[in-house]
């Protein structure tokens, strides 16, 4: 691998990310899958780094899941999106940051569509006014939340308590980065580092002491694929796809996986359980899986957040071996205790996956 060659490509795909003042929109599914991730994002950016990140309870879904499941028309989706942008304008922001990759992709797609077909934009603005009496606006800068963490990676590193280094060996952890398909595959110029070698997560890992590994199936989708998962009859496609990725990364012996998409960490995590329970195969050490994290979780870990406050107990693949590797202190007995100290309930142990 010629690192210089990659740097050359990264140099070609620079993306302008404003330092501060963002209108933040959440993801539909992340709030249920990884509820602490978005909270951590807010906490790191607002409290720890003192940035101006604005949220409103009035924003809705972007319509992405429905759109990608072919259940609502394009114009409807675009009107929903126009409403989100209008809210941003309404609250006095022009930088838009979203938590969801599907949303990010859809926003990019919509903005490009409007650029190509101004008459459609006119129509959507009209729809927006008719339905919501809101003034049509487009963000000046559209970024994904991971772009922002990428932007702040050095500031986070400066405040970090841990590094992504194996405490025992002193070697950097081997990290697989997984980028959501809709981040830059559709519009390579909209993603940090482009589509072929996206730099957004690589930059974080490098800044925080880890080492990225490139495995052959790194470009592959996590397996979610909307209809491939949402329709039960198609789920074999989904899990087979994920299986292919794990088979491909296995020889590289990764310590962890970092992702920037709502669906990816979920499927990379949960399908390890399904693969283990149907094939008897696990990919981590000693019968464990490979732990999968969101970028906020990783940022939180290096900054010394309590793993249970980061919601790591909701992961299927146990994170403890990794915490031990890094040397992060944690209270095993507090794993299933809620914020109020009450037991939130312990899941049943899988048969195969430790």
């Amino acid at each position: 691998m010629i690192y210089e060659g990659k740097k050359k490509i990264w140099a070609d795909y620079q993306k302008e990310i404003p330092e501060d003042h963002y209108f933040y929109v959440r993801s539909c599914i992340r709030q249920s899958f990884f509820p602490a991730s978005e909270a951590t994002f807010i906490d790191i950016t607002k409290r720890q780094l003192g940035k101006d990140i604005f949220e409103t309870e009035h924003h809705t879904t972007c319509g992405g899941i429905a759109y990608h499941s072919d259940t609502i028309p394009h114009e409807t989706v675009m009107t929903i999106i126009a409403r989100q942008f209008a809210l941003m304008k309404k609250y006095g922001y022009e930088n838009y940051v979203c938590s969801c990759i599907t949303s990010f992709g859809l926003y990019c797609e919509t903005l490009e569509t409007w650029r190509e077909f101004p008459e459609l934009q006119e129509k959507i603005a009209d729809n927006l006014w008719k339905t919501c009496q809101l003034e049509f606006a487009k963000p000046k800068y559209l970024v994904h939340a991971s772009d922002l963490i990428f932007k702040y990676r050095m500031q986070i590193a400066a405040k970090s308590k841990y590094k992504l280094i194996n405490k025992q060996t002193g070697l950097p952890l081997k990290v697989v980065e997984h980028i959501g398909c809709h981040y830059s595959k559709m519009f390579p110029s909209k993603g940090v580092g482009g589509a072929e070698y996206p730099y957004v997560l690589v930059g974080m890992i490098e800044a925080w002491g880890g080492q990225i590994i490139d495995y052959p199936e790194r470009r592959h989708c996590c397996g979610f694929g909307f209809r491939q998962y949402l329709i039960k009859g198609n789920r074999s496609y989904s899990v087979s796809n994920t299986h292919k990725k794990f088979e491909s990364m296995e020889p590289f012996k990764p310590d962890m996986i970092i992702t920037n998409c709502p669906g990816c960490p979920y499927f990379l995590d949960r399908w390890q359980y399904v693969i283990a329970e149907t094939q008897g195969k696990t990919y981590g050490q000693d019968g464990h899986g490979i732990p999968v994290f969101t970028y906020e979780e990783v940022a939180g870990l290096v900054m010394g957040y309590n793993p249970w406050d980061l919601g790591l107990q909701t992961h299927q693949v146990s994170v403890e071996p990794l915490l031990d590797k890094i040397g992060i202190e944690y209270d095993p007995s507090a794993k299933y205790l809620g914020k109020n100290g009450k037991v939130i309930g312990e899941p049943k142990k899988p048969n195969c996956l430790k």
Partner: protein, 108 residues
């Protein structure tokens, strides 16, 4: 093991790393013409058996190159050795001997 109602489906892809190249070289030794196929498909188009059952020497050769022995044998199983493909092959491949050789080397 748990039945989730779905699972890992086998890949339809061809992994050339695992394809059996030794047997193919044996075939190429017995009938070197197999290497000359340029996949024009004349053989398939003219095939007498092909009027009844999918039969394609072109595909069979390709399957063997890709290590898909069973598929190759299946797609030749209807062949009646009539020799029309020999007549139309622009590369002058001795198709009948090739088919017999495939059966001999790969067959049961």
């Amino acid at each position: 093991m748990i039945d989730f109602g779905f699972g890992i489906s086998p890949s339809s892809g061809i992994n050339l790393n695992n394809s059996d190249k030794d047997t193919f070289s044996k075939l190429a030794k017995m009938e070197p013409n197999v290497l000359k196929c340029m996949a024009c498909g004349s053989c398939t188009a003219t095939c007498t058996a092909g009027d009844f059952k999918t039969t394609s020497l072109r595909t069979a050769i390709l399957n063997l190159q890709n290590g898909l022995k069973d598929e190759a044998l299946e797609i030749l199983s209807g062949c009646m050795l009539c020799g029309k493909c020999t007549m139309v092959c622009p590369r002058g491949i001795n198709t009948r001997h090739l088919i017999l050789s495939i059966n001999k080397i790969y067959g049961k």
